[in-house]
């Protein structure tokens, strides 16, 4: 009864347009006061939720991504990758996905990845007659790699909530990241081969294989990005830096890169800083609200009741994952990624241990499902990013993303059946 009432109030407040952070925080505070718990808990939660050294990596990774985005490094990266694969069937599509994957390795945000690569790839692909819906779908989906391939802001938030190792989560994201890159690439090639007329037009001007000299020059020009990725990920994996320190070093390297390239004006640096602030504060406010809500529902024993409900009715891990995925899919139509994470994970966490599910493996499945949410209408954030970057109609973008959503479902099923795709690198290497 209480669960239904809480759910009803939460949904009603959200639909009226109350910000998610204050829906969660307000509900939590009201629940505390109604049950005569001290509201001081809420004020303490507001401090403790943001007073975290691990969470500092969120603004720093955002700053790094935004500096690189405003500094125009996407062009160099895309040109370098294109020089190697641009002549293949569906070559520009492959180049786009690989560029997204490389940028994802230096960015924790899907929006930054979609915007950076989209700015360069969309005009190029459209100029070469690739169907518009395919281009927009490819970029919107490619951008989501930003939160699966480490570093990843949702993984940091997931690690903070579940108190799991963020390094393990990052490492677990590499296998599924590569898997999705391969799937997206295969689809691009398949699409190019299937749409012969479009493909013939598309490759007309791009089928000239770049010479070794051209490839060398393009790769050298993009090399700082590859070095930056190696420093950020190598530093974390090698135990040289914590994720937060790695983000700070990455930010300094990003500033150095754009300074040497002379590609970032003061005005754009200021914009990058302000946009990072906006995203950071929005995420932190939801985290703070969710912390209050999570404290309140724990005192009401709601997660325990849900766990009991789940363990009595759902005996297999497969069914549990299926139900979670369906709920996430539905939530994804209305909620954005961090909100989904912060609402669902504290509630589901006790059930994971009850069913013997590895939280790292589950975290990866969860991140892929919230990747889907980023490209499912009507509130998929990447749809709007690509709409803005590509000056497109939103219906064109939506029409292009469906094959990629199916590929993501396939990835979820594959990782469920073969957990090693996610767990091999962190636990068996």
């Amino acid at each position: 009864m209480i669960i239904a009432l809480v759910l009803f109030c939460m949904l009603a407040l959200m639909l009226i347009g109350v910000p998610i952070a204050f829906t969660l925080g307000g509900m939590g505070l009201a629940m505390l006061m109604i049950a005569d718990f001290s509201p001081l808990i809420a004020s303490q939660a507001l401090v403790s939720s943001v007073d975290s050294f691990i969470l500092l990596s969120v603004p720093l990774f955002l700053l790094m991504s935004n500096v690189l985005l405003k500094g125009g490094v996407g062009t160099d990266l895309f040109n370098a990758v294109q020089s190697w694969v641009g002549h293949l069937p569906g070559g520009l599509g492959i180049a786009t996905i690989l560029s997204c994957a490389f940028f994802a390795a230096i960015s924790g945000s899907s929006v930054a990845t979609a915007a950076t690569i989209g700015t360069v790839a969309i005009p190029e692909m459209i100029a070469r007659n690739y169907p518009r819906h395919f281009v927009f779908g490819l970029l919107a989906a490619g951008g989501t790699l930003g939160i699966l391939i480490p570093p990843s802001i949702p993984m940091i938030v997931y690690g903070v909530i579940t108190e799991e190792s963020i390094v393990d989560l990052f490492m677990a994201g590499i296998g599924p990241g590569i898997f999705l890159v391969l799937m997206f690439t295969a689809y691009s090639v398949f699409f190019a081969l299937k749409n012969k007329p479009a493909q013939q037009q598309a490759t007309k001007s791009a089928d000239v294989k770049a010479s070794f000299n051209e490839r060398y020059k393009a790769t050298m020009r993009a090399s700082p990005v590859f070095i930056l990725a190696a420093v950020v990920l190598g530093g974390i994996y090698g135990g040289v830096f914590t994720p937060t320190e790695s983000a700070a070093i990455g930010l300094m390297c990003a500033l150095l890169i754009v300074f040497i390239r002379k590609s970032l004006t003061k005005k754009n640096l200021h914009k990058a800083i302000m946009e990072s602030l906006q995203t950071t504060v929005v995420i932190f406010m939801i985290i703070a609200g969710a912390k209050i809500f999570s404290k309140a529902i724990t005192l009401y024993r709601i997660p325990q009741d849900i766990t009991e409900l789940i363990t009595h009715n759902i005996s297999s891990v497969g069914l549990f994952i299926l139900v979670v995925c369906l709920v996430l899919l539905i939530l994804g139509f209305f909620l954005e990624s961090i909100s989904m994470l912060l609402i669902m994970v504290p509630v589901l966490l006790p059930s994971l241990s009850a069913l013997g599910i590895d939280p790292i493996w589950f975290g990866i499945l969860f991140v892929i499902m919230i990747e889907c949410a980023l490209i499912t209408p009507p509130v998929g954030l990447n749809l709007f990013v690509i709409q803005a970057v590509g000056k497109a109609d939103i219906t064109e973008v939506i029409a292009g993303v469906y094959p990629f959503i199916l590929i993501m479902f396939f990835a979820v099923i594959s990782i469920y059946l073969i957990p090693d795709i996610a767990t091999y690198i962190p636990f068996k290497m």
Partner: protein
């Protein structure tokens, strides 16, 4: 009055933004000090956390002013202007009530921290009120912005669900 509140929150957000940027600088300095000079600091981690708290909470008013908080707008965007106005006023009231309660209880915690001279249990041992006061001031600024936004809507200003930055 409204413009003054807008301006105060705008400058607080600017200050907050550069606090986050400075966190990047001091953490990079810490890594350099540790690996290049073999002299790890005792202040970077804790100062960075304090700056993060202040940077975040000082900027909330500006985020509200620019309608950048994440929320579901599918329904309210389709409402008639009058109904949308009521929904928006209701949202702002919820935020304002939350802010008032938070200011009250966070003030109790802050004053208690000052009264008993509570410090963090770290090598730096910063006063706890440095952390707690960010909530009081941050939510006070948010409350001011709520009042300003409430007045703007009552005076007929159109609601923009996707406002752009003003900085």
């Amino acid at each position: 009055m409204k413009t003054l509140i807008d301006q105060i929150n705008r400058y607080c957000a600017l200050f907050g933004a550069y606090l986050f940027f400075s966190i990047g600088l001091i953490i990079a300095y810490e890594v350099g000090a540790r690996y290049l000079f073999n002299m790890p600091t005792i202040w970077v981690e804790e100062i960075a956390r304090v700056l993060q708290l202040w940077g975040c909470y000082l900027s909330m008013g500006w985020i509200l002013k620019n309608r950048k908080m994440i929320r579901i707008t599918i329904l309210i965007e389709r409402l008639a202007p009058g109904a949308a106005k009521i929904a928006e006023l209701f949202s702002i009231t919820i935020i304002a009530v939350f802010s008032v309660i938070t200011i009250y209880y966070a003030s109790i915690i802050t004053l208690e921290s000052i009264a008993i001279d509570r410090h963090t249990s770290s090598m730096l041992g910063l006063p706890e009120w440095l952390f707690d006061a960010s909530i009081v001031l941050g939510f006070f600024l948010l409350l001011l912005q709520c009042i300003a936004e409430f007045m703007k809507i009552c005076q007929g200003q159109a609601i923009n669900f996707n406002a752009e930055h003003d900085i």
